[in-house]
Amino acid sequence: MKANVLLFELALTFYFFATAIGIIELFRKIKKSSWATLYLTITGFLFHTANIIVRYAQGGHLPAANLHEAASFLSWCILIIFFYHEYRYKIGLLSSFIMPVVFILMLSSSVFPREITELSPVLESSWFSIHVTLAFLGDAAFAMAFGIGIMYIIQERYVKSKHLSSLFQRLPSLQSLDEINYHLITLGFPLLTLAMITGAIWARSAWGTYWRWDPKEVWSLITWLIYALVLHLRLTVGWRGKKAAILSIAGFLLVIFTFLGVTLLLKGIHVFE
């Protein structure tokens, strides 16, 4: 087996166990995610990082040039954001909500062909790395907002229903979840904006025009508008709490559609060859 494939399989396996334990822990009376989940995640992440480095060295460009690489690189970006939040906010049970997203992305990555794709010469420029990294980090922040949004919805249900379970005790307060959600969107939104700008510049140098209304561009624009709306409504009429949580969940589903759906269902220049 080739080194990068082996590394990928190892990462996937570790993520699987971290996800499984994380989900089990939701239903057991454990205060916060155990160290086992975190260590499994970190180990998986190290293999994952090695896989990305190996592919980078072999392909000579950022490994985000086909669906297999893109889904894998997005999971990697989500984990970067996750580790930061785990360290910064120490939210109990966060990994139980994020690892499933990471694992599902990695699983979908694993079904696509794993060959290292040559970038077509028109695309070969440093704009590629910049555009992709910005876009993926932005999407990762939205993924995180999605997980936090789900936590919010669950906790809000408990508080509103007036029946408090043991999970209620272990989830953070509504206000903290809402604030973190807001922080994440204020992080993801500028990243997405920059990604679209750099993409346009790159498109200009590769194809001669800034914007071509290709399906991916259109859907990214829709995503951008949704998150712009989330921020706008929050600041003007106070769409916070549940509404913000629902919007950030919907927003991420749109991200995933733009990311995988558009490539698989609709054709365009962003489609990986």
Partner: protein, 424 residues
């Protein structure tokens, strides 16, 4: 030394009787001193709280010990013995130890798993220590009791979840807001219930308090106590926009806060969450507001519902705690058994005999073939050294004096005999 528990508590006697026997003020130290001087019991800890008056003692003889302590209780408090007969409970040996473990774990408390009792036992023990009223047995028992209580509390959920409505209200506040000290609270109504709820919030960090009441003067008085400010009853609705937590404890016939009030307030505060605690009966806040986003309303029934669930949960956890108590009881009884003189003497003899034999064999092997007389002399020498060394300890062990347990315990430690407890 036998462990004895004599006392009365909320299970055996009503408060009118219990308070007659309370060791409050300096009575506790005086009682300890009297007990030590009068030779009623060699070791004493007295636990006197509003729910229980319990005397934990180490006595030589159980029968006479019970009589003496019973008489002491009646005499000390100047209460006729007849009154005591009906309300007293008496436990000794295994049951006494188990009782103390259960009390410290909150398993015997009126509110299951309540935490204060452990602190009260610690305090009672400290006072006994200060007055030199305890010995090896009770010291060991108390130390064990604290570790049992710690185990039951950390390994089970017996102390988890609010079991009165004020605590439940605070628990909810902490799940709605991340930092209570940054939140503003308004108390509507200057009654006792509302005051209690507000106090709990203040104890948990809330600093900004506003009070409103029909009689403005009472609002002012209470606001001063809370270092807050008072608002006239006519104006309180417009104040709501700056309020995150509302406690409503008023007697009214119709809602003082309607859905429209809250809708307007929410708009004015840009949907910043509001938590409304309605402890009025009948309710004073329209329950129809539950459908609004970022509005969290709880009434007495809701809070009682939470309390019921938590109580049920604690009852379940109590079974686990009882298992821990039983387990720890066994280890303690094992240690206590080891304090008997006879097995200690046997163990000491066996141990020294084994050492003697081993060393003799080594020496004889080294010396090679010896004459019968020489071998006999050497064996005699070894035996008599050993016997002389253990003669005094054994004599002391057999003496059955006042401090016998200390001697037994010391001998076991000095010679590191089997059956010793691991806790050092």
């Amino acid at each position: 030394m036998n462990i004895l528990v004599v006392g009365l508590n909320h299970n055996t006697a009503p408060i009118e009787v219990r308070e007659k026997f309370a060791f409050d003020g300096d009575k506790l130290e005086r009682a300890l001193k009297m007990l030590m001087k009068s030779n009623i019991a060699g070791e004493n800890v007295i636990l006197s709280t509003c729910n229980r008056v319990e005397m934990y003692s180490g006595v030589r003889d159980i029968e006479s010990g019970i009589d003496n302590i019973r008489n002491f209780l009646a005499d000390f408090h100047g209460v006729p013995k007849a009154l005591l007969e009906k309300s007293l409970f008496i436990l000794h040996g295994r049951e006494a130890v188990k009782h103390i473990f259960r009390v410290a774990s909150g398993l015997d408390s009126m509110v299951l798993g309540e935490p204060q009792i452990l602190g009260q036992i610690k305090e009672a023990f400290d006072i006994s220590l200060k007055n030199k009223a305890t010995g090896a047995m009770l010291n060991k028992l108390m130390k064990k009791t604290f570790s049992v209580a710690k185990r039951t509390r950390t390994e089970t959920g017996i102390g988890k979840g609010a079991v009165n409505i004020s605590y439940a209200a605070v628990e909810l506040a902490k799940k709605i807001f991340s930092d209570l000290s940054a939140k503003a609270c308004m108390l509507i109504g200057a009654g006792e219930m509302g005051e209690l709820a507000a106090r709990h919030l203040i104890n948990n960090g809330v600093r900004n308090v506003t009070v409103t009441n029909r009689t403005y003067e009472r609002a002012v008085r209470l606001a001063e106590e809370f270092h807050g400010r008072a608002v006239r009853f006519e104006d309180f609705v417009s104040e709501l926009r700056n309020t995150d937590i509302v406690i409503s404890a008023v007697e009214v016939q119709k809602y003082i806060l309607t859905k429209d009030d809250i809708k307007h307030t929410m708009k004015a505060r840009k949907q910043n969450p509001v938590y409304l605690i309605d402890i009025s009966d009948p309710r004073s806040i329209d329950p129809g507001i539950d459908g609004l986003d970022n509005v969290y309303r709880y009434d007495i029934d809701d809070l009682n519902g939470i309390v019921d669930v938590n109580e049920e949960e604690r009852r379940k956890e109590a079974e686990k705690a009882e298992a821990i108590v039983d387990e720890e009881l066994k280890t303690f009884l094992k240690w206590q058994e080891s304090l008997l003189a006879v097995p200690t003497i046997v163990a000491l003899r066996e141990k020294t005999e084994a050492i003697k034999k081993e060393e003799l064999e080594k020496a004889l092997k080294k010396l090679g073939p010896l004459g019968e007389k020489e071998a006999e002399t050497i064996e005699y020498l070894a035996a008599s050294i050993v016997n002389k060394i253990i003669h005094n300890p054994i004599a002391l062990l057999k003496s059955a004096g006042e401090d016998q347990e200390i001697i037994i315990d010391s001998v076991r430690r000095l010679f590191s005999l089997e059956g010793d407890d691991d806790e050092r």
